[in-house]
Amino acid sequence: MRVLIVDDSSVMRKIVSRGLRQAGFKVDDILEAGDGQEAMGILTADSNFQLILSDWNMPVMDGLNFVKSVRGSGGPAKSIPIVMVTTEGGESKVQAAIEAGANGHIKKPFTPDTLKATLGQFMK
């Protein structure tokens, strides 16, 4: 499986990468992007990802606009599952992300078990 992690924090990208492996998912390749715009560039060149994990608050292009851009792109990346990973657990934000096309939400701090429970449906 290939996963794209979108977060402006290098530490959070490492935490998510570690968490995926600790959760027992067989991840072949993890690519990282520091914001939504950089992630869109990656997806334009290579859309072979089975899951995208995206932060909410990021510079240049935030998580919500990233979700909207992917879903509106019309390309093969359009149907890749996107799960938001964010500190903010407010219902309105989660609802906004879902309405924009996100497939789920993980609230920080999380454990490998949380990742397993939330991402299991996307990760074989």
């Binding site: 924090s9 290098s10 530490v11 935490i15 500190t87 920080k108 701090p109």
Partner: protein
């Protein structure tokens, strides 16, 4: 109903929510037990040989929440968070790590206290031996002292 939809949340309730958030974040993300030792009032705080991170709260509750600790302690905590040896951490890792800790503690406090109408800012971090930063606010600052495996972690709240 969320707490701040039914009226103002008492500051002491937020302080309690903050302490719960600190223990929870360190346990989940750094596999570190944080034990509350005591709290004290600080009229002013100066960051000198330490690393620190903070977030601002705006909305129905205004204020600041921050963490500070000696650089060595921060290095050990971030090392556990990312599962990398401490000597392999970059300066960016330390900055991001302490900023994320502050972010998660601020977010956890908001959730635990039911502060739906509060916005937690993006975090900022200060790391470096030469750096001097001053925590100045017209609000009372409480400093909560936690013992962690590798030393002491200070959590600041001005509400």
């Amino acid at each position: 109903m969320d707490a701040d939809q039914g009226g103002t949340v008492h500051v002491e309730e937020i302080f309690n929510a903050l302490q719960v958030a600190v223990v929870d974040v360190l346990a989940r993300m750094a596999m570190t037990e944080a034990v509350f030792v005591h709290r004290e009032k600080l009229p002013r705080f100066r960051l000198d040989q330490e690393a620190g991170g903070m977030v601002r709260l705006t909305g129905s509750q205004e204020g600041m929440i921050g963490i500070t600790s000696p650089l060595g302690v921060v290095r050990e905590i971030v090392s556990r968070i990312v599962s990398l040896p401490a000597d392999q951490l970059t300066g960016e890792d330390l900055m991001d790590g302490i900023a994320e800790l502050a972010n998660m503690i601020g977010g956890g406090t908001k959730s635990n206290a039911g502060l739906t109408n509060v916005k937690v800012s993006t975090p900022m971090a200060m790391v470096g031996k030469e750096l001097l930063a001053e925590w100045k606010t017209d609000r009372h600052t409480e400093r909560f002292v936690f013992q962690v495996d590798d030393g002491v972690l200070y959590v600041l709240a001005a509400l």
